[in-house]
Symmetry: C2
Subunit: 351 residues, 2 copies
C-alpha cells in the first residue's frame, strides 16, 4: 500500500546538514521501489540559529513539528567552548525538549559489529544488541537547582525522577523487542546504591517478566556492564536501562562496534501520540565540517530505523543491507567523501 511520509528534517549544525543530505538521498533512492513517498520540510534549528536569533525552539515550530509523521535530525551543536553558547542551552532547550515534549520514551540504540570495520577490541566476536534507553525521566528531567551560586557555600542538586508509569512502559517495550530477537533481556542499573530508583526498576522488571516466559532476564550493575561491554559484548541481546546509564553505555557500545560514525538512534514514541525522531549518535563535529570528511553512515542507518518505525520493514532492511555491503567494501579501499559514500549507498539500494 502506498504510504506518504510527512518528514520534518532538522539538518542542524556543521556536519549535521552534510550527513542529513546523504540520508535523504538514500531515502529518495529506496522509497520508489516500495511505493513510499517522502515529503520533507526543512527546519532551521541549532547553534547557528540560536547565535543569529537567540531562538532555540520556538513554540510555533514545535507545533509544526508535531504535524509530521517522523523527524530526521542531523546533529546540533556549536564550537566547543563558544562563550556565546551557555552550557546545555541546545541540549536542554532543543534536543531534550523534543524528547520530552514528543514523549520519546524509548531511546533505541542498536549496536552491531560490521565485518571489516576495525574496532578497539582484540576480539572480533560478532556483536549484535540493542539498548532500550528510557528517554523521558531519570536525571534528564532537569529537576534540581542551585543555592548560593558562585559562593563557597554553593549547593547544587540534580533529582532523578523515576515513575512506575514511566519505567513500566519502557520495560514492556524492551521485553517485546527481546522476544522478537534472541530472547535475552538485561536490566542495567545501580540498585545497590540508588535503592529508591533501583527498587522501582527491579520490581517492574520482575513483575512484567512472567508475561514473557520466553525471555531470560538478568541484571547487571552499570559499572559491571561497562566491563562486559569490552570483555564480552556478544553476551548482550537487549539492554534496558535508565536515561543517564543509557547515555553512557551507548557511547561505549558505539565505540566497541567501530565508532560513533556508524551508530544510529531512534527517539521513539511507541504510542504514536507524536512523531518519533531519528538521529545519528554523533555530534556536529565543527572541526571536520565543510571538508567532505563526515561519515554519513550513522545518519543513513537512522533513516533505516525511521523506515522501520513507520512500518516499512522491507525498505528498512534494504537500506541496512546496502550499508553492510558498502561497509564491507571499505576495507583496503581509498577514502571517499561524505557525498560519495551517500551516492554509493544510494546506488546500492536502487539496484
Amino acid at each position: 500500500m502506498a504510504q506518504s511520509i510527512r518528514l520534518a528534517v532538522i539538518p542542524g549544525d556543521y556536519i549535521g546538514p552534510e550527513v542529513t543530505e546523504e540520508a535523504l538521498k538514500v531515502l529518495s533512492a529506496v522509497c520508489p521501489a516500495y511505493d513510499i513517498k517522502v515529503d520533507p520540510t526543512h527546519y532551521d534549528l541549532g547553534a547557528q540559529r540560536y547565535l543569529a536569533t537567540g531562538e532555540v525552539l520556538p513554540d510555533t515550530v514545535l507545533a509544526e513539528l508535531r504535524e509530521h509523521d517522523a523527524i530526521l535530525l542531523g546533529a546540533v551543536g556549536g564550537r566547543p567552548g563558544d562563550p556565546n553558547l551557555p552550557a546545555g542551552i541546545l541540549e536542554r532547550g532543543l534536543l531534550l525538549r523534543l524528547r520530552f515534549e514528543l514523549d520519546h520514551y524509548v531511546n533505541l540504540r542498536p549496536s552491531r559489529s560490521f565485518p571489516g570495520v576495525p574496532t578497539p577490541l582484540a576480539s572480533d566476536a560478532p556483536i549484535d544488541f540493542v539498548v532500550v534507553r528510557e528517554g523521558t525521566e531519570g536525571l534528564y528531567v532537569g529537576n534540581g537547582g542551585v543555592v548560593r551560586k558562585g559562593t563557597p557555600q554553593e549547593l547544587a542538586t540534580e533529582v532523578s525522577v523515576n515513575t512506575a508509569f514511566g519505567v513500566e512502559r519502557v520495560v514492556r517495550d524492551a521485553f517485546v523487542r527481546a522476544q522478537g530477537r534472541r530472547g535475552r533481556l538485561t536490566l542495567v542499573h545501580k540498585t545497590n546504591v540508588l535503592v529508591h530508583a533501583g527498587g522501582v526498576w527491579s520490581r517492574i522488571v520482575a513483575e512484567v517478566a512472567p508475561e514473557f516466559p520466553d525471555v531470560t532476564v538478568d541484571y547487571l550493575h552499570v559499572d559491571a556492564a561497562t566491563i562486559f561491554l569490552v570483555t564480552e559484548p556478544e553476551r548482550f541481546d537487549v539492554i534496558v536501562t535508565d536515561n543517564l546509564f543509557g547515555d553512557i553505555i551507548t557511547d561505549l557500545a558505539a565505540a566497541v562496534t567501530g565508532g560513533i560514525g556508524l551508530a544510529a538512534s531512534g527517539n521513539v514514541n511507541p504510542d504514536r501520540t507524536a512523531p518519533s525522531m531519528f538521529e545519528p549518535v554523533h555530534g556536529s563535529a565543527p572541526s571536520i565540517a565543510g571538508q567532505g570528511k563526515a561519515d554519513p553512515t550513522a545518519a543513513i542507518l537512522s533513516a533505516a530505523l525511521l523506515l522501520d518505525h513507520v512500518g516499512e520493514q522491507a525498505a528498512a532492511r534494504r537500506v541496512e543491507d546496502a550499508v553492510t555491503t558498502d561497509i564491507a567494501a571499505r576495507v583496503d579501499a581509498p577514502a571517499r567523501t561524505t557525498s560519495q559514500i551517500g551516492d554509493d549507498i544510494a546506488e546500492r539500494v536502487s539496484n
Copy 2:
C-alpha cells in the same frame, strides 16, 4: 624513623579473607626492612555477620575503627540474589557508611597496564592514569525516596548533592596529583545535561586551575570519556569526577588494563581526621571462593597504596615493583593458587 601502624583489617566475605591474608603476608614481608611495625586487629563485618546476627556496622565497632591509622578491607557481599540480603544493605550500611563517616572524599583509583597482561583492547599502548573520584557526595548520599511504593503510581527519586566545599577539596587534591605526574587533568562530567551540578564542578575547576599553571586542564562528557577509555586510554593522566561517574569509569578503566583482579583503590581522607581505607575494586566473588582461585594482586596493590598514604613511599614502591615483576613472570607460566601468588610476591619483596 620507625613507624608503627595500627591497622584495622576487615577481611569480609568469600574471597575477601583469602586475598586479605596475602596482602598481610606481603606487608609482613616488606615492613621489617623499612623499620615499619604493623599491628593488625581483625574485624568481622560483612554479609556473613549480617546474616548471622543482623548487624551491619555497630556504632561501637565504628568507634574502634576510628582509633586506627588505616583500614585494609578485603571484599564484602553475599551470594547474588540472596533473599535475606536486602538490596544495598551492605553497600549503604557498611561500605558507603565507612566512606561517609570517615570522610573519604578522595576515592583514588590508579589504572595502569602491566606488560604481558592480556587486555580486551587491540592496542597495547601503555596506560597509566589515576581517577580521583569524589567519595562523599553526588548520588551516593542516599537522599531521595519513594512514594506510593509498589503501586502503579510509585514515584522514586534520587538526589545528587554537590557542594562547592565538597567539590573544591577533591578538585584541589586532583590538581596536586596531576602536578606530581604528567601535568594533565581531565574533568569528567555531564555538564550539558546536569547543568546545576555541572555548573559547580566546571566553575571550581576553572577557579583552581590558575594556581596550577603547569597543569593542562581539559573536559570530557562522561559518555565521550567511555569512548576514549577504550580507543585512547593512554591520553589520560589524572581524571577528576563525581562519585557515580567515578564508579562507572573506574570499572571500565580496570577492564581495559587487564581486569578487576589487578585494580586497587584507596578511600582516602587527605586531612587525616579519620583513617583511610584501602581495598581491591573487585567484590567477594562467592562463586570462586574456597578454591584458591582468587587473584590477591589487587589486595596487595591496595596495601601498597596504604603504605604510600602513611608516608612509606619506599616500601610502597617495593611492593609495586615486586607485583610488576611477578605479573611479568605470569606469562606462559602455570596457574598458581591465591596463596602461592602471595608467597611469591612476599618473597620478591623480601629479596
